[in-house]
């Protein structure tokens, strides 16, 4: 498959003016302002094939938006190379941005006062989409996202879920090969989230659109992305599939048992108790050193068990441990 995005050692440092406190400090700041260097990206490299669906995650201030801004051509890195579909994004803005689509979950690119359909028509003219292709794209998208009934409603009257569906359509009318999504499910209710996820995975499968999602909602990633890039403090921490991430950073499994009686005596093996709530106790164990069936058997020999669940720890915990370790 062709390489879609190639990032090689990009670096970016921001200079942030330090604010001094108090009125005197503010006056001093007028004449002699001190700047703090903030390294947003520190030799970041990765490459993405065309047609991939990538989850791009990291804590706040990790450098996610900076990376997206550089990839979309609106910010220049201090150092390093970057090619998107064969061209350097910031060198040829107009031809670059006509091949990508960008959706910000917290901002709309639609015209607030206009009916939805008129925003779409304006975007058609801005992107110079030939009429026939516009018709075709609009038909397809509005069918997939169930939009036809809201075409004539002004954008300001839409619900958040409806607005997000319209924003997705707006970003795709010019058939971009790469779609950047910045927190596309933020604030959405459950059905809308599912609708957006379902749509994205269909888009990726049927049209082969490369999709890059930044999000804090790890369910988005779990249900959509085979591959995740984790960054913190501008450095790449992990690049691979979600399963590997779990394995390499957080091997433990969880065993959740409901006992018949409330017993405090659990010195079976050296099991760690994660939490305890009435008759329900959650243990953690390492599947490499002891297998679940053996463990359960050993517990069942001594205690009456009512119910059992074996689970992976929630992905949130994996990620936060990863962030935590990288900050040390």
């Amino acid at each position: 498959m062709a390489i879609g995005i190639e990032v090689d050692g990009i670096e970016k440092t921001f200079f942030v003016a330090e604010k001094e406190t108090g009125v005197l400090g503010a006056i001093r700041g007028l004449f002699n302002r001190r700047y703090r260097r903030l390294k947003a990206l520190d030799s970041l490299s990765f490459s993405i094939q065309s047609g991939e669906m990538i989850g791009f995650i990291g804590p706040n201030g990790a450098g996610k938006s900076t990376t997206i801004k550089i990839l979309s051509g609106i910010l220049l890195p201090d150092k390093g190379k970057c090619e998107v579909l064969g061209i350097t994004p910031w060198e040829n803005r107009i031809s670059h941005v006509s091949r990508i689509g960008v959706v910000f979950g917290q901002r709309t690119q639609l015209w607030w006062d206009l009916p939805v359909i008129e925003s779409f028509e304006l975007l058609r003219d801005i992107y110079r989409v030939p009429n026939e292709r516009y018709r075709q794209n609009l038909d397809e998208l509005s069918q997939m996202l169930d939009l036809t009934s809201i075409f004539n409603i002004p954008v300001r009257q839409l619900s958040l879920g409806q607005r997000m569906r319209c924003d997705l359509t707006a970003a795709l009318l010019h058939s971009p090969s790469i779609l950047f999504l910045d927190e596309p499910t933020i604030g959405l209710d459950a059905p809308s989230k599912l609708a957006v996820r379902g749509f994205l995975s269909r888009l990726n499968k049927t049209l082969g659109t490369t999709i890059i999602i930044t999000t804090h909602d790890l369910d988005d990633i779990e249900s959509l992305c085979k591959r995740v890039l984790v960054i913190n403090s501008g450095r790449l921490l992990f690049d691979g599939c979600l399963e590997d991430l779990r394995k390499s950073f957080f091997r433990e499994r969880r065993l959740k048992i409901d006992f018949d009686e409330c017993n405090s005596d659990f010195h079976v093996l050296d099991l760690k108790i994660v939490s305890r709530e009435g008759n329900r106790i959650i243990f953690s164990f390492d599947p490499e050193s002891i297998s679940a069936p053996v463990l359960i058997q050993k517990i069942a020999e001594k205690h009456n068990i009512r119910d059992i669940f074996v689970e992976n720890p929630p992905i949130e915990e994996v990620i936060s441990r990863l962030y935590h370790d990288s900050n040390k």
Binding site: Q109, E118, L122
Partner: protein, 266 residues
């Protein structure tokens, strides 16, 4: 050419959404007419007290007044996007402009054509018509041409200032007041003949911000007056183009600002 089509497309959307609130449009336009009209009352009071200012009569000053107000109103309406550009930078909407495959200036101009500025425009027009009728001028083609050049030139000059103000917001958020003293201050200044001011002030508004070129010199040519400052009469014809030269220069600075924005972020 295609950009021009996009401009009209965007602007027609802006006008349409302003017309949705018709009562509001009518009220603000009328308010703008009255509010800016108070300036002329000030001019009138001054002349009725002193009779003449450096051999300028009130109807003659009305020509200066009309040119500058009509030009400024045009500029305020058309360059509204640049006037409020600091908000675009703050909200991150400028990023959206950069993400679209079209000329950024066209997109910013297309943002809004502020129709209520018709208040100041018609007020300036009324004053200039009154002055013209009183002096019995304007009824020749050259006179109308001079007037048109001067109005367009002053619109270009103020637009340049709006572009400059927008460019500043790439670096700082709150220093727009500095530019306001030159835009609004410039309008106030140019409502009176330049010859009443002192030397360095005249110099500033002739050579740094070429305010004299788009109003004082053309007004001499229109009125057939001899300039007490000794500038030749053909200046009235050529100088309005300094307004456009100024606008062009400001766009160059703007481009530099955009490049800086792309390398520093916000």
């Amino acid at each position: 050419m295609k950009d021009l089509r996009l401009y009209f497309r965007l602007v027609s959307v802006s006008i349409k959404s302003q017309m949705e609130y018709r009562a509001s449009f009518l009220m603000t336009s009328f308010g703008n007419f009255l509010l800016t009209g108070i300036d002329f009352v000030g001019v009138w009071v001054l002349f009725s007290r002193f009779g003449k200012l450096k051999d300028w009569s009130l109807p003659e000053a009305a020509i200066l007044y009309g040119i500058i107000n009509m030009g400024f109103a045009l500029s305020e309406a058309v360059f509204r996007g640049f006037d409020t550009f600091d908000r675009m930078v703050k909200s991150g909407d400028f990023d959206r402009v950069l993400l679209r495959p079209r000329n950024t200036v066209i997109q910013i101009l297309g943002q809004e054509l502020q129709m209520m500025r018709i208040g100041r425009f018609s007020q300036g027009l009324a004053v200039i018509l009154w002055g013209g009728l009183k002096l019995k001028i304007f009824f020749s083609i050259p006179c109308l041409a001079l007037l048109l050049f001067a109005i367009l030139g002053s619109a270009a000059l103020f637009s340049g200032l709006f572009v400059l103000q927008a460019t500043l917001s790439f670096w700082t958020i709150d220093s727009l007041e500095i530019v306001n003293t030159v835009t609004y201050g410039g309008v106030e200044t140019a409502q009176f003949p330049l010859s009443i001011y002192n030397r360095w002030f005249r110099g500033f508004f002739t050579f740094v911000i070429p305010l004299a070129c788009i109003n004082y010199f053309p007004a001499h040519a229109i009125l057939g007056k001899k300039d007490v400052l000794g500038y030749p009469e053909f200046f009235g014809w050529v100088s309005p183009f300094f307004g456009f030269a100024f606008l062009w220069f400001c766009f160059k600075i703007w481009e530099f600002g955009v490049r800086n924005y792309k390398s520093t972020g916000s």
